[in-house]
């Protein structure tokens, strides 16, 4: 399947909504928890069992992004979006069948395995194309798409909850809800499949498409560069620090102010979590666009340096002022989102747009690692501190200092990033042709 080339006059402003239609859909993954209580009561599952489809989906996201990236580069964004649409929707349809027949393994297989492939391929599908259309603002372009992944849960969470309210929370009601999700997401994602186009050969400075010159590094070569692994560490540390807050946000704010004159209620804590989601989303588009102006390296200096400062403020004075705690947590979460969204543009700066989607897919393994590391650190330490008789803000003090240490490691890794050595570059087609001519004439 050859990539769909834009006809003359095709506007590059049609590409971000194409990307958003995919990312807003697959971002539903973070709203899986809406289905958990219903599945547990209807199918007699434990909390651990009902989390399985989500966990498998995230594992498959990482694996399919890492291993499917080269296929996405070869076959183009329309192929990738089609695969994502088919996998994500049929994952829901299989889950509907599983819920209706009370065969839970089908839900795990459908949503987790098949749907998870849709998540990974869908996540990287528009990245390379967007940067080719917006060579002048790659951070903003990928920020829009990756913001969509954050926005997907905002849409799905209330939507899925309302659907379960109207269909019921027995196995038939859940099956109907899954069925509607599968069909609605297929229709919604179809816009992306229909609209996405790769730019024609370079033609103008203002019209968008990138010139062919510049750095070109293949995905396999990128893995052999220190730059890739420095960025891997940077992303892993930044995401771990964000998840450190996100994972325990609601109990954390309640614990911090439990012994004060103004304790935080359960509903106020839920409002805090919602606010963090907004900061996460705003950071994706806001900071990623800012990186176009101040440069990728400087942007990550802010994420990691100022992020560490925010953690220090929470650790030292977080329990003395609620506004201070909330502002610091919001800034940290905006950096968490920004770190995700700025990564593709950083990769493009270092390795060029040649196989940036495939390289991005491999970088996302840092996300999977951080997804395990962040919650593990915060939960394990909080449990240990609680067992030691501590309470309130003291439960999290050590975690905060560990997060600062991790951010410092990320900061150093970012400082070590240098331009990629030319020996890793793939010659541009024109240069390759000249080299061949030179060899023939020699």
């Amino acid at each position: 399947m050859s990539p769909p080339v834009a006809p003359p006059g095709w506007s590059r402003w049609l590409v971000p909504p194409a990307a958003l239609s995919v990312h807003l859909s697959i971002g539903q993954a973070y709203a899986w928890s809406v289905f958990k209580p219903a599945l547990e009561s209807a199918l007699g599952l434990t909390g651990t069992q009902s989390a399985l489809p989500f966990q498998l989906a995230i594992v498959m996201l990482g694996l399919s992004a890492a291993f499917g990236g080269t296929l996405v580069e070869r076959n183009g964004p329309r192929w990738a979006m089609t695969v994502s649409l088919v996998c994500f929707s049929s994952g829901f349809l299989l889950s509907a069948l599983g819920a209706r027949t009370e065969q839970y393994w089908l839900v795990v297989l459908g949503y987790g395995f098949v749907g998870g492939i849709g998540l990974g391929i869908g996540y990287i599908s528009p990245v390379s194309t967007l940067m080719k259309w917006f060579p002048d603002r790659p951070g903003m372009a990928t920020g829009i798409a990756i913001m969509g992944f954050g926005g997907g849960a905002l849409i799905a969470s209330p939507w899925s909850a309302r659907m379960l309210e109207s269909f019921g929370t027995d196995s038939t009601g859940i099956a109907q809800a899954f069925l509607v999700h599968g069909l609605a997401y297929a229709a919604f994602m179809a816009l992306g499949v229909l609209l996405v186009r790769v730019p024609r050969a370079p033609e103008s400075a203002g019209g968008g498409p990138a010139p062919l010159s510049g750095v070109r590094v293949s995905a396999n070569s990128a893995l052999r560069t220190p730059q890739f692994w420095c960025l891997w560490v940077v992303l892993c540390m930044n995401v771990t620090a964000g998840i450190g807050i996100l994972e325990k946000a609601a109990p954390m704010i309640q614990d911090f102010f439990a012994d004060t004159s103004a304790p935080v209620s359960v509903s106020a804590a839920a409002g805090f979590v919602a606010l963090l989601s907004a900061a996460n989303m705003a950071g994706r588009i806001g900071w990623s666009s800012t990186s176009d102006l101040i440069g990728r390296k400087n942007m990550y200096r802010v994420y990691l340096g100022v992020g560490a400062l925010m953690y220090a403020l929470i650790a030292l004075a977080g329990d003395s002022s609620k506004p201070l705690f909330v502002v610091c947590a919001l800034v940290i979460l905006s950096f968490y989102g920004g770190g995700f969204a700025t990564a593709p543009a950083y990769l493009k700066d270092l390795f060029g747009t040649y196989q940036v989607g495939a390289i991005h897919g491999r970088l996302l393994t840092a996300w999977s690692t951080a997804g395990v590391l962040g919650p593990l650190i915060v939960n394990w330490i909080a449990d240990r501190q609680e067992a030691a008789g501590k309470h309130g803000a003291a439960l999290y003090g050590l975690s905060m200092w560990i997060m600062i240490g991790l951010l410092a490691v990320g900061f150093v890794a970012n400082e070590l990033v240098r331009p990629v050595h030319p020996r890793h570059h793939v010659p541009a087609p024109r240069e390759a042709g000249l080299d061949a001519e030179r060899q023939q004439s020699a």
Binding site: S11, R12, L24, G151, I155, L191, L195, S265, A268, G271
Partner: protein, 43 residues
């Protein structure tokens, strides 16, 4: 964010429609988010 002013008129409708396609559900999600977030100050 405004579409490129140099876009041919025939594409303008498509651009508006495609942005609305994604903006409407996102707007719904943001509305629900704001409703929930206000609980931090009122709850």
């Amino acid at each position: 964010m405004t579409p490129n002013a140099s876009s041919p008129p025939s594409r303008r409708g498509l651009i508006v429609l495609s942005w609305l396609w994604v903006a409407v559900p996102l707007g719904y999600g943001l509305y629900e988010l704001v409703r929930k977030a206000t609980q931090l100050f009122t709850g």
